[in-house]
Amino acid sequence: MTIKSTNEKMGQGVGFERIRRITGYLVGTMDKWNDAKRAEERDRVKHSLNKNA
């Protein structure tokens, strides 16, 4: 990826990379995920460490 710099500034149009575990493995960034797995990732809830949650 190339980051273009203009007017002494940089980063225009550059997104954040978000790495998540897809099944047992990782995938570079989420834009390569299929629609169903994207939806699943969106729905994931965090698990608390409280035993009685």
Binding site: M1, G24, Y25, K37, E40, D43, R44, V45, N50
Partner: protein
Amino acid sequence: MIQSIIKRDGRIVLYDQNKIAAAILKALEASGDGNAMDAARVANDVQRELEGKFSDQAPNIEAVQDAVEQQLMNHGFNAAAKAYILYRANRTRAREANTKLMKTIDEITNIDARISDMKRDNANIDGNTAMGSMLQIGAAGAKAYNEMYLLRPEHAKAYRDGDIHIHDFDFYSLTTTCCQTDIIKLFKDGFSTGHGFLREPQSIQSYAALAAIALQSNQNDQHGGQSIPNFDYGMGEGVAKTYKKAFARRLRDAVEDYLDLEDAEYTVSAVIADAEKTTGEVAKLCSSATYIAAVAEGLVKAFKIDKDTAEKLVKRASERAYKKTDRDTQQAMEGFVHNLNTMHSRAGAQTPFSSINYGTDTTPEGRMVIKNILLALDAGMGHGETCIFPIHIFKVKEGVNYNEGDPNYDLFRLSCQVSAKRLFPNYTFLDAPFNLQYYVPGRPETEVATMGCRTRVMGNVYDPTREIAYSRGNLSFTSINLPRLAIEAKGDEKVFYEKLQAMLELVAQQLLDRFEIQASKHIYNYPFLMGQGVWLDSDKLSVNDDLREVLKHGTLSIGFIGLAETLTALYGHHHGESEEMQEKGKAILGFMRKFCDDKSQELKMNFSLLGTPAEGLSGRFIRMDQKRYGKIPGITDREYYTNSFHIPVWYPISAYDKIRLEAPYHALCNAGHISYVELDGDTARNVEAFESVVRCMHDFGIGYGSINHPVDRDPVCGYVGIIGDVCPRCGRREGEEIPFERIEELRRKYPKMPAFQGIE
């Protein structure tokens, strides 16, 4: 009078009664029903029927064929009529497959992968590249052929309709899934990649380089994940070689410096050789006192120096050699990780799908490997990116690394720190009863190891003396659409189990059909996997032997998806919601496991039950079921079926309960399983909290687990961590630009900040 007919593509051609008679004759001959005279008579009546219906209009080809069918029956040629109908149906299927294939290739060629879900079916293949597209086109062609020519009609129908999913169907006629490569055995005396011979490696750098090449080579022979089960033990041998050489060199340097000699190499080598002879040992990271004394004594004699000085020289050489070896190992591990994230397989469309298992080697050499591979993982790639490959698997074992005071406990702690930042390693638990039953101390091949998404191979019904992880793998797997069986059973448990039994039989038969194709292959089809003895017993085959017997060390696995939706469809709620449902869930998977065990005993082959990874499948089954049954609340109303036996991702539950409820299914799914816990970023970075989750998994008998937490990166300032809407380091929002001065300022503040990528 019929003059012409309209073909399928719209062209109008002259009507030719002879052609019709010829087609009829073929049907008559196929059924042994009649002769050319009969054919001519039927053809005459076909023409009469068409004239009655169309007078002098041109009929289309379908109407002509309808008339042929009708007249064959009118003349009492029922068997021939049947043959003709079948022929028509087959032709239609072939035509449709061709059209579908061309449409698919059209989509691969012309549509951006960001828009085409089909092109993102496997997230590790970049469908936008030339080689990635070529791979997808090849896969589409192979699938069309395999469905048409290799599947029994009932299997083709079940696959097409979404009752089952045949994984890696494009490779149906070609190869097997995966393998655990024993690198110690492979490296002994060198090996050939199929493109050239490599000598036995002599340093940790070449050990690491060749390990990557081994994974790459095997990836050309199999479609699934490639794994090293003994990374620490194997690389440890390279560390030992590097140290031995470094010690000799450092000792020579020390002697030359101290005595101001120009070249002491010959004499020092002789001293070392002598010490090796008398003690039967070589220089090691922690050499024995006997060996060190023998070397010192040799120096005293050879160089006429006093004992104190000699001992000092040996000590200095040992310390320096240790540092050098540690540095070399660190570089070798970094190189290994970089290699696996950049080297190509499958014509450049993918990197090898690689895994490495480690954690239990307690020798100083093995420990040095484990420490440095974890540090390389922690450091990330060139710009601090998280490494995607290899999958790191840390083997947890009581008495080895699990408890304080265990020899590798420090490395287990380090692994938690790294995983809390980089998502790897995952953890496999050798103390889970279904893993412990195979474990023999001192025999690392009996330690369970994982490959790919979650595949596990241990038991061996074919050869019970070889219940090991090394040199084996999965042959193929097919998954059952479990929720559909439950929906179709309409709440009737008995009907559900009957349907499940029938589906298990169907899948077992299909796996055996596929095995027949695989079994008929030869060594030369797999120059690395079989030609280099990577697969168990393949070194005993001769060139004309087929692979049938050696492949029986592998597994045929029956997978499934959506236990949660299945329970909801049958009983109204899932196993996260009540203990009663947990029992029902265990009963269903227990039934499936028993089927696999019985089949294994019956055929003396390894059938096993798999909690399918289901990357592409999560959407495929449910889309088809939504079309059939609509959106049923709690069952088909989302965009995906829940993975394997997991508690649904959207269901609020504590980590403790999730682990407790999922653990029993690990024992049942002997082909592979994994459980995840989702932590928020702050908790994950608390190493105590992170470790407590791993310990909870261990104590409940989880087989394989990992902890998910968000890992984000801002490519502009290089920050790795959790990024909400705003980057916590440079303060920009997604897509926003920031001034150079700000970056310079940050760079001064964070000197370890990675260099920025390709700034123009």
